[in-house]
Subunit: 302 residues, 2 copies
DNA sequence: TATCGGATTATAGCCTCCTGAAAAACAATC
DNA sequence: GATTGTTTTTCAGGAGGCTATAATCCGATA
């Protein structure tokens, strides 16, 4: 029964893949293959398999390994699909507390350990992550300083303006190279969203798809600094957007824009695509500005 | 005599400031003021003061505090100026080892602890820092993966191209606001360098001045994402440039460019300054490209 | 021969106690 | 009243043992 954190993470991901149909029913799951994919050893994989067998998602044949069950009850599938949203981890709680002024600007590790009831190691991971994302920094002596970077409503604008600087530029890098497959995959995702996903998928997934779209394009620049800068601001954006209600009308327009960009790129019109990207971000900024203003009036003090 | 790490860091910085003339002879050093500047309490400051008094750099008057000595022997001054270079900490050694292929791509914490003879906590700080800078990431199971981001000669180009995208854009941000004082201070630093500093200052200090120049301008954009992105790539650049010989001729041209940018800004010609910045970076890139090529032939294998 | 299954080895997180050092509170001096 | 000097409190890093769990090795099986 000992489901370690790692193996349960893995089993959750596998379950996802099976539920979505990424992994076909009846397929043989080779332990080593899966281990390679997740870049871990076979040990946690086997644990994950065992856990999934208990749920009836996999079947085991001694000395032959695990196979995806031939049919999986609908109720289990929907159960799996919903499970994603629950993953509100300590980090998000911490971030949320900071964004909502529940924490002082200067905090000691002790105070945080007490508040969140965490061990030293876990806490220092937490802080390292926040530091990595750019909103916490260790003071020289004791304590940490939490930065207001992502707190203000203006941060929305700032992120969009930053993206306006890097994303179109990334597409014009001399090392930029179209990745047809990635592009096709992006197109599929956006089309699926337009064909109803916008209204059915969970908010988190929708935001994720949007971020992935932009990041994949940045990746094609083949300049890792553009990509990692974008990933960075996107992570921070997510912290904030997590709290705002999603505007599904806006998402539809976004997807249309995204598809337009894909089309331009497919035709090799990189320069046009870059321009269009800039406009796309700029219109998002204008819209955001209004949302942010509203948000600031309703959620911020003074 | 217990000189903690923090207080000795502080005393080193103070000594620097005094040696360079940033802090005048005979000046009264108020403990609280210095503490505020370094964002620590008075305790480590007082220790630093005591250490500096022992070296004869400060004088103590009971109940009145510490004062900079009226005259500091030349030999002590040059000693201080050289001391900077020695501060090659574990992090730099670690980075160096990775850049020179002394470390495998996948490493366990144990292996690193043994190699560098570090405690758990220090090592995890080290790795957190590398992760923060973007060239290490924790694997899902045990171990860390070191990323080749900053290893290749191309990374030089990539960083400069990234900077070409963000730095001129930062100056055109609607929130951009000139900071006259900061500008004046930058001008002074650059002028000092042209007036001989280029040949006398330690390499590290020179690189530092350059980075600071650009970062201060990015700060004036009042968009923290531009600034932090620049700081990020600068840190990485430093890891690499640390190993290459410094070209003092090139530095002179750089300083001239920097002064030109300051002049444009002082006249309110922000647009021109932005253009000039782009050209400035682009010429550095062209030059770098040659250096990097040379560097790759001489330092890299295959 | 590729894959699985079980046994062994190694890793890293957690816990507790301990201590040097930083922060904070308080007292003294000009 | 601002600043220094002293004391007390709090903090976080270090060491070492313990344990869950990940990696690895090796034999078994189809």
């Amino acid at each position: 029964m000992s489901t370690s954190e790692l193996s349960s993470r893995i089993s959750a991901r596998l379950a996802q893949d099976i539920a979505v149909g990424e992994i076909a029913c009846g397929a043989h799951l080779r332990a080593q293959e899966v281990a390679d994919r997740y870049k871990v050893s076979r040990t946690p994989i086997r644990e994950a398999f065992a856990a999934l067998e208990e749920q009836g998602i996999l079947r085991r044949f001694p000395n032959r390994g695990y196979f995806v069950a031939d049919s999986i009850p609908q109720n289990i599938i929907s159960e799996i699909k919903e499970a994603v949203d629950v993953a509100r981890d300590e980090y998000q709680i911490f971030a949320e507390d900071w964004l909502t002024d529940q924490l002082p600007e200067i905090v000691t590790e002790q105070a945080l350990r007490q508040r969140y009831n965490m061990t030293k190691a876990r806490l220092s991971d937490l802080l390292a992550r926040a530091a990595r994302e750019g909103w916490a920094e260790r003071k020289e002596g004791y304590g940490w300083r939490l930065l207001p970077v992502a707190k203000t409503a203006e941060a929305f604008d700032e992120i969009y303006r930053f993206r306006m600087a890097i994303e179109p530029a990334a597409m014009l890098e001399p090392s930029f190279k179209l990745n047809k497959e990635a592009l096709a995959s992006l197109r599929r995702t956006q089309e699926r969203m337009l064909e109803g996903g916008v209204n059915s998928l969970p908010a988190e997934k929708l935001l994720d798809n949007g971020a992935t779209f932009h990041e994949e394009l940045a990746r094609m620049s083949n300049n890792p600094f553009f990509l990692s800068a974008l990933e960075r601001v996107n992570r921070m954006r997510r912290l904030m957007e997590y709290r705002t209600k999603i505007d599904r009308q806006r998402l539809t327009e976004q997807c249309t824009d995204h598809l337009e960009i894909v089309s331009l790129l497919e035709q090799g019109e990189v320069l046009e695509a870059s321009f269009f990207m800039r406009r796309h971000l700029s219109s998002a900024l204008r819209r955001k500005a209004r949302t942010a203003k509203f948000w600031s009036m309703t959620h911020q003090k003074d």
